[in-house]
Assembly symmetry: C2
């Protein structure tokens, strides 16, 4: 009995009631009728735009909410059911996110397919069919006859009734460019007019938002709609960009939309971010058809606060999204994954050398891309260039279309290209890349073809691939960051896949022609199928993607889900690790972090290590020589004093001390809540005038007679502000900010308040220690 | 230039030197020759056995170390190479752990195979061959002739030259029991004599250790050796236990061994735990052949502090371990996974109902098992039973062997049983479970056999399975927790697989005989292969494992890696979620948490939510009416006073205040370091006597002339103790303890020290609020 007794004692403890006040917000106060502010007033507990949230406070508010529901649920069956529904709402939100994200991804895939083909021709039997769908319905169903199906007509056939010849070529070329320009113009106009936040990949901003920053409208309904539509347009226009990154943004918009339907999530910025983390996982899940990879991507790359509950829910959302997409079946092959491959031959130890070379290439490409792209984006921000976003998009689209059309490897959509590069050459493959000279005596089964000498098609393909590679490298640098939705995964993978395939074919031919060399003798006898160029393409793609984004585990897992076997994990890992190391040697930042820094978002990366020897006292404000910290006293300031202080400073909150002399800390009051509380009291509470005393104590101070009614503001006082001593090493302070998601932290020495450290101060200090410009951190 | 200038200013800041003192330990002090304690003395910064580590301090010490190496690396090339080696040592440790864990797992697999078969017979051509290996070398290589290979002789054949008949059966039965008893006796004796920590699955203790607790010897070399040997013995003895959990312990022992070779890890308990987390991943990776599942298991189930760096390294260790195991190839089939399955038919929506039923069964089994097992283990701890561990093991082994032998499903090893239950019945399958009545006109390919009516073998198998299921359920409750290595994964999976297979066969037969029922009409036409009983077994296994351990994502991912396809993830997830919900309805604790509580380890679970309304002031000590907090003053106590305080109390540390009157907090001193410092000073520092003044200030206090030399202890003072205000809600305090891994936290009100909260206080309070006995938390 003893423990239960003790519980009762604690619950009846008089101070326990104070919790209400600590967690200001939506609860009813102690019942003093005169004390108006004990009732909730609007907007308390919300944040302003471009401000940082306080994770501890959000968590505390959620616990309060949960406690209220739990205690209510014992009152009646209806309340009990309501509490059950509340507990289930998380899963319901996940289900809805999965369904919507999967559906949107399917619709985007179908629309992109159709519009990409529209640039070249149209289906006569039904104009809304893509080339492939058009030919399914016709009688010629084999892959080789695809080009010959009569329902599908190129523009030249339709308009001037010519399918071959120079004039038909020029007409098709011209219309291709026109369609591309048309799509791109429409996209950039829509983005500019309706939803400026719909541009870019969105991942840097989502990372920032998930770390606890408010950007209103970034995940809004308009952004969702416009991003979906314009994504289809820009991908179809043939620009060098992918839909994978923006799909994460789209999924997060879905997450935000559904979380706004449930007060549990809409009223709590911390809980909302749990939903958004899961939505990001669903986004990657549908982008690649890799649910586990999606969850790990969200965990490794995007999320900030990822409790185990979120892990499980993310997984659920990712699975639902993946299955929804599979039911829509946009690729028409019942495959979940974007690039399905099946290789039949193992890899050999000696091949690790070219794989590692590809890793080095990926790392170098990552570095080059990040440096050039950031330089170009900085130029766009600071020069006149930024004033003509539409023109920029039009020019880049025109250049892309003009250069891309003549080369078959750049004319087709990038994902088709990657798909072809990943493919192993089977016996029935008709592609140029598989134009090998066959042994006429061959009688083996189709899936185990020995290495063969390359035919003329392969050599042509090599040249075209080399040109396409150079073009892609250059154009992608200029494309990423324009005012249109643009993802980076697919172009990066394409660069890697092209390089990888060329290396693969090279190794294959060397091995075929020189199978007596020592390194080949053991594993590559004549007539054996020992080199799979498609695998090299895949390894190259992983390396380049790793170099740009610095993903590691999630990248390997995504690739593992694509190949569906552990067999090729070692090559992929070797390349991914090499690429990360090479790229890290030139700079620790991935492309997303680089863009976060470029935009000056207050993002405290969990991956950065802070190793300097500074102390809290070096970072806190006020610095030496600066005027003293602006503080409130617990019971000696008037309403007017407080209002003046608020007007004269722009701090987000003020420490409350016993008196200006003793400077012993009592609590912390938020600026926003002070303003709201005073405004409210002046409007609705009698007797509160400019020279009313503001007190934060439990009981009003003793006042001379005839003095005006005092204003009690204890309710908005945070009685448990976070403090550290001035001797605390900054590495500990950084750790505390990261792990507890603080907004500010007070610095004391033997109980006396010395100063304050905000998240912005921490970020500026970190930038300073890394020899960067601390003024680049713009928000708080 | 401006930012760089500022950096220099900060680094030259006089206070920056104080960091040395904040992070007491291995650095040289400020150079005052008289101040002996500024030199390092032994054992500072280590912990006593059964104590909790301070994560913040460990992290801080590691940063110091890192900083020292970085600054040294600029001095010479040799130092630079040393710093590179240091940076690489993490990967080297992972590689070694992977190699050793994989090798040990392979050796254990081979030895278990051989010794399990030894209970039934011996190979004449080479006694060290298992039954299967023996028959490989003989000419009869097909599976059906396995029983007939002449080199393999049952004991009765060898001893009395009889292979059939009652006397031969009895002889074999008797020898089976004798071998089992012999193995079990040897195992329990080895554990008792050499390594008492080698018993159990080890996962509860590893969870506790990873959360920051010291149990010396738990991961030692002797434990590693004895656990490996006895694991082989107990698994071979046929007891109802598995090797998967203990393999995690074995892998962690490997991790501990290799981390003790590198000072980076051996001298820092925090860094060591990063290695152990990765080792746990490697353990699961080799246990199931599921590297990704292993990493997620470590993340979800075992680890406490899991930074992203650890994620990537764990993945590396898990992969290396898996590939090492595959190179050893103990199963002789080049498969990485423990239970490889390949199903050929999809599942149908209607099947979700039996799958969810299996989930309910799994949840109920989990609850039943945890309750009964904990009750039995508590009985063992509190009654005479615990005094006869050897006898207990002998009795349980005898009962197991006597009951298991007559039933073919319990006689064989449990993993073989699970393997058979998971298998789909192909055309060549000779097992009793596949004794269906074949349609003589069947001409289909072998992997697409339609549903058929069950033959007599299947009905016999059903009875035997039912008996085996009941037996397994009961005996496992008594087996887990005995003083031998014992894992729980395999018995749990076996229970689920048996139940699942029976349900599967039931559904299959109902569907076959009643394919005109509405629910079957759409998907189960006559002649179609619509129900896969093996899939039901797999779903049941996942449900039961989930019910006992409450794993979710990692469980599904492990199962996904076993089947290698996303196809069956939905059934598995449905069952796993149902099972978790059902089990959670009866109690939130999984078996590992239950054992942690039973043993009273100070484990602060990240999954528990603290939702009570108590404040820090309710939890801190001293409580009301208790004597005041024992504190040190900064410059007014003598050496003798301090020694008396240390002698009279058993606290692990003492707050240091300005004076007893003002109670303003200066810092915190650890008991262990106080004792060491005073002992050291008395031995080695002249003039320090009992009435020397101890001072923690920078400068010695002004003393009357002729007073003895004062003792400066600022070096061991933690100048940045963690403080919260008395109004801080306990949910925040719990969060801080969890996320920052604190050992204690001081409670203040407006700068005055009020009390202290230790991790033990937090755990006791949580136990109290959950109506449990707070005295069950034993360590701090």
């Amino acid at each position: 009995m003893m423990p239960q007794l003790a519980v009762t004692t604690i619950l009846e403890h008089p101070r326990a009631k104070d919790t209400n006040m600590v967690n200001a917000g939506d609860m009813n106060g102690s019942g003093n009728l005169m004390d108006f502010l004990d009732e909730p007033f609007p907007d308390v507990g919300t944040y302003e735009d471009f401000h940082t949230i306080d994770w501890l406070r959000e968590k505390s508010r959620d616990t309060d909410r949960h406690r209220k529901i739990t205690s209510k649920s014992k009152e009646s069956i209806w309340e009990f059911i309501k509490s059950l529904l509340d507990a289930w709402s998380g899963w319901v939100v996940m289900l809805k996110i999965g369904l919507l994200a999967g559906t949107l991804a399917g619709v985007i895939d179908l629309a992109v397919d159709w519009m990409t083909d529209l640039k070249e021709g149209v289906c006569l039997s039904a104009f809304w069919y893509s080339h492939e769908q058009c030919c399914w319905t016709s009688n010629e169903t084999t892959f080789e006859d695809r080009g010959k199906c009569p329902q599908w007509q190129k523009w030249s056939e339709l308009l001037v009734n010519q399918s071959e010849g120079a004039s038909a070529y020029i007409l098709n070329y011209f219309l291709y460019i026109m369609w591309a320009l048309c799509f791109a113009f429409l996209a950039v106009s829509l983005v500019r007019v309706f939803a400026p936040y719909a541009c870019g990949s969105g991942i840097p901003e989502i990372k920032t938002i998930l770390s606890g920053f408010i950007i209103r409208g970034y995940l809004g309904k308009w952004t969702l709609l416009i991003k979906t539509v314009t994504l289809v347009l820009v991908v179809s226009s043939g620009l060098s960009l992918g839909k994978e990154g923006p799909l994460v943004h789209v999924a997060c918009c879905c997450g935000n939309f559904f979380s706004s339907l449930f007060s549990k999530y809409s009223k709590n910025e911390g809980k909302r971010r749990e939903v958004l983390s899961a939505a990001a996982a669903a986004g990657v899940s549908v982008a690649f058809g890799a649910p586990i990879g999606g969850v790990l991507f969200s965990l490794e790359e995007v999320s900030y606060y990822f409790p185990l509950k979120t892990l499980w829910r993310s997984f659920f959302a990712a699975l639902v999204a993946a299955f929804t997409l599979r039911s829509i079946n946009p690729f028409g092959n019942s495959r979940l994954v974007l690039f399905y491959v099946e290789y039949h031959t193992p890899w050999y130890m000696a091949e690790l050398f070219p794989f590692i070379l590809l890793g080095v290439f990926g790392g170098l490409w990552g570095t080059l891309f990040i440096r050039c792209n950031i330089a170009w984006c900085r130029r766009r921000k600071t020069t006149k260039l930024g004033k003509y976003p539409v023109l920029e998009v039009i020019v880049v689209t025109a250049i892309t279309a003009i250069i891309a059309y003549p080369n078959p490897y750049t004319r087709r959509s990038t994902s088709e290209l990657i798909s072809e590069l990943f493919n192993d050459c089977g016996a029935l493959e008709s592609s140029q890349l598989c134009d090998y000279i066959n042994d006429p005596n061959m009688t083996r089964p189709v899936d185990d073809i020995p290495d063969r000498p390359a035919g003329p098609g392969v050599y042509t393909a090599m040249w075209q691939l080399a040109l396409a590679l150079i073009f892609k490298i250059i154009i992608t640098i200029f494309t990423f960051g324009m005012k249109i939705p643009s993802g980076l995964f697919i172009p990066s993978m394409a660069v890697g896949a092209m390089a990888g395939r060329m290396v693969g074919i090279g190794v294959e031919q060397v091995a075929y022609h020189h199978h007596d060399w020592i390194i080949f003798r053991n594993w590559c006898r004549p007539g054996a199928d020992c080199v799979t160029p498609g695998l090299y393409a895949m390894v190259g793609a992983a390396a380049c993607l790793g170099g740009v984004t610095r993903m590691t585990v999630s990248l390997v897992v995504i690739m593992f889900e694509l190949t569906g076997g552990l067999e090729y994990i070692v090559p992929l890992m070797a390349a991914a690790v090499t690429s990360k190391w090479v790229a890290d040697a030139f700079g620790k930042e991935g492309i997303y972090e680089a863009h976060i820094h470029l935009n000056g978002y207050p993002f405290l990366d969990v991956k950065d290590e802070f190793t300097h020897r500074t102390l809290a006292t070096d970072v806190m404000r006020p610095r030496r020589g600066e005027p003293a910290l602006s503080v409130l006293t617990q019971d000696s300031m008037t309403v007017e004093d407080v209002e003046t202080l608020i007007k004269e400073t722009d701090y987000n909150g003020f420490p409350v001390v016993v008196s200006k002399d003793s400077e012993r800390l009592i609590g912390f009051a938020q600026r926003r809540e002070l303003i709201l509380a005073i405004k409210n009291a002046r409007q609705r509470q009698d007797g509160v005038v400019s020279n009313s005393i503001v007190h934060f104590t439990e009981d009003p101070p003793e006042l001379p007679p005839n003095s005006p009614h005092p204003l009690k503001l204890r309710r908005i006082l945070n009685l448990s502000p976070f403090t550290v001593t001035d001797h605390t090493p900054m590495e500990t302070v950084v750790d505390i900010f990261r792990k507890l998601g603080l907004r500010q932290c007070l610095v004391t020495r033997s109980g006396r308040l010395l100063g304050i450290i905000t998240k912005k101060d921490v970020l500026r200090h970190m930038a300073q220690m890394a020899n960067q410009d601390p003024e680049s951190i713009m928000f708080n």
